[in-house]
Subunit: 447 residues, 2 copies
């Protein structure tokens, strides 16, 4: 207990969210503690957790002394990576669904990273905060609005820092556009678009059109969400980066949304195509509409269109789109236009030269380290932010209020759809402090 | 009166909407009446009406014996065109806002085309139907839902055919995609997108940032809509073609919508940029949000995103996008993808080859005539449909029920925005007959 109390004291003086308000960009370049390696435990070493393990091991400043999973087959893979990185084998926590609590209780961890299936993010994060271990969770929508409040309250009660690992906030083109916005190329922002438009049918099903008990990896637990829920199940890859652009929770906030879902055809068709019409899964009536479209109103008068489109054939696109009073960027088509700057009025330019010219300082500095990291380098940056903040005792750039605002899009969109499109109000998880909270995301070149 | 009663009888037996239900594609190739030229009057010969006049005069089968406008300066331009086309000067109706009624009462017109300012479409169309003159109006949103009902009731009561001149229904790429849909390349349709994304600031303002009394052309009457109304003011260029694709009013219908508007900045900024911050117009608080985003739910489970974006700098795009269970087309980026047909899974193809291969029979047949016609040839087709239906005594392919459903997006979106995004139900203007009405749009190669 001593360790975790000490940690909580340090956290409260250095990293609690309230302190962030008073901190300007300058502190971001404060020197990290020398020598000491950051000790990070990982709960969930499936495909995603193993990816993060590799990312952490590639750094020279992190050790991974503890890993936890319910599937014993994952440990040899993890240990092999750890040993090859020149580190001691990790302690293993396994055998029950609550084994992770023992990992949290070790007392020597500087942070814990949660990459378990969606439904575990919440209880694990809560327990981590209660135990005083700074925690980062993978992304997913929330099960309920209350869950978001509970995360916020756990953070505020315990003072334990929470980070949401939304890697797309660090996508190179999105960060270049953020850089352009900060240099006022777009004027005042008016409307943004984004979404998760990703044909996941081969992820949601095993060969033979199986999932759930007969599935592995995400097919084991992710697909059942589509059986039972109709809403934007995975909003933050789009809404997160756009929230950073719009200063959500930091001078702006999400006020309300409406959601519309189409009929559900894609998953059923896939089962019939790959398992035949007599396959037992062909009887399932999936709740999830194939395309869920959500419109968010913001306190400063902008609107955001968020799309969830994962059941139909389509090329991948997060559909980023930023429209301001002086310019517009449409990632679909790789196009950009600035009034008075683009050579021809009313005519798009290719965005490539702008994205290069306004490459974000973070990417300029860390490009070589990001190369080869997961998801086009984004994973490097999100882990880098987690680790560097732990080292520097600085607030996380994607915090519990961000997580709550983005995750709660899921239950709010479910409610709106269930009520025929009725608008749903976002809770103000910041309890009014969004008015004076200032941006902290990607202000410098360090993390 | 005799003439118009005769006409109404012919209309009732040949052209009334109810008859359309029983008519298959075959009748569309019925031979037109020989010899007789179709006599069309035009109300409103501003820029748009003059464009239509030119289009009609280029045909060999139409005379324009009557034109009407409130602005005497427009007549010499029109007469010059008419004389150059080898026709007699038209009779002129002018001098008062109700002069058009005299044009309608001539008794010798086969049809009338209305291209007056938006607010005149409704009373003029109503009077035309009451007088028994088949009428086509230019496009615009409705002032109210009741106005849409009144149009429908005037049509049903009088039996006079009504056509809505939505030229974008005939856009070449949109028609090619319609052709692909009818050949089942897209599978079952799930989600469509469209909109009017057109920087109209130079249309809404004269040099010196003037409009209204000090404006000419559309600046004289269109801009005031943006002063007073907040909604999708101009929905049909997007929603019309998509409605054809989805079979709206013909086996499907628009059920409800939600709308979201952003803050209004673009028009004010334009005034300040071009007239200075002390310009009297800089004091105007424009009601119209810069980007209005509307989501429509359809009876068959599809959703449609409609965007209205006319106040900000941006390249023109109607943003067409069609997503089905087997394929997807995104005009932004000129991209298309069909599962199992596109060479690489999850990878877009350029749409060009498909658009050429599936060029609609109408375009194949009339390409040379359409060349040089307004709006990339679309204007040829919409006028051609009007004239050919008059000649053949066939139902118009874009009728009063289509007009009502598309135009009423405007007041419904206003209501939704005013109520914070509350969903609004579409009236069923077909009174339930959408279930058995079958498509008539662009079934053949004639019109």
């Amino acid at each position: 207990m001593k360790t975790s109390i000490d940690r909580r004291d340090f956290i409260k003086t250095g990293m609690a969210a309230g302190v962030a308000v008073a901190l300007g960009p300058k502190i971001l370049s404060a020197a990290p503690e020398k020598e000491k390696k950051i000790r990070i435990g990982i709960i969930g070493i499936g495909l995603r957790g193993t990816g993060h393990l590799e990312g952490l091991l590639q750094r020279g400043d992190v050790t991974v002394p503890a890993v936890c999973d319910i599937d014993p087959e994952r440990f040899p893979i993890a240990q092999d990576l750890i040993v090859k990185a020149g580190q001691k084998k990790a302690d293993v926590y396994q055998g029950s669904e609550t084994a992770y609590k023992k990992l949290l209780g070790r007392g020597d961890l500087d942070g814990v990273l949660i990459a378990a299936p969606w439904l575990w993010h919440f209880p694990m994060a809560l327990d981590a905060m209660k135990t005083g271990v700074p925690v980062a969770t993978e992304v997913a929508g929330a099960a309920s609005v209350q869950e978001c409040w509970d995360l916020v309250e756990a953070h505020e009660t315990t003072g334990t820092p929470f980070m949401f690992l939304e890697n797309v906030c660090y996508r190179r083109d999105v960060m270049a556009v953020l850089n352009m916005i900060r240099q006022n190329l777009f004027g005042e922002l008016i409307h943004c678009r984004c979404g998760y438009q990703h044909d996941l049918r081969e992820v949601k099903f095993q060969p033979g059109a199986e999932f759930g008990e007969k599935g592995v990896h995400e097919a084991r637990w992710r697909t059942e969400q589509a059986v039972k829920r109709n809403g934007d199940l995975y909003p933050s890859h789009g809404a997160g980066p756009v929230a950073m652009v719009l200063g959500i929770n930091r001078g702006n906030r999400f006020v309300s949304l409406t959601s519309t879902a189409t009929k559900s055809r894609g998953l059923h068709n896939y089962i019939v195509d790959h398992g035949g019409e007599n396959h037992p899964n062909a009887k399932i009536a999936f709740a999830l509409g194939d395309v869920v479209t959500t419109l968010i109103r913001c306190a400063n008068g902008e609107s955001v269109l968020v799309t969830h489109d994962t059941n139909l054939p389509r090329p991948y696109s997060l559909g980023f789109y930023v429209h301001g009073t002086r310019g517009i960027w449409n990632h679909d088509g790789d196009r950009i236009y600035f009034e008075g700057r683009s050579p021809e009025a009313h005519v798009w330019e290719k965005d490539e030269a702008y994205l290069r010219q306004y490459d974000h300082p973070l990417w300029k500095k860390h490009e070589s380290k990001a190369e080869g990291a997961g998801h086009g380098g984004m994973d490097f940056f999100v882990l880098n932010a987690f680790v560097e903040c732990l080292k520097r005792k600085q607030p996380f750039p994607i915090d519990v209020y961000d997580a709550a605002a983005w995750k709660c899009i899921t239950p709010l969109s479910e409610h709106s759809i269930a009520e025929g499109g009725e608008p749903q109000e976002f809770p103000d998880f910041t309890r009014g402090t969004w008015i004076r909270r200032t941006p902290v995301f990607a202000l410098g070149e360090e993390y």
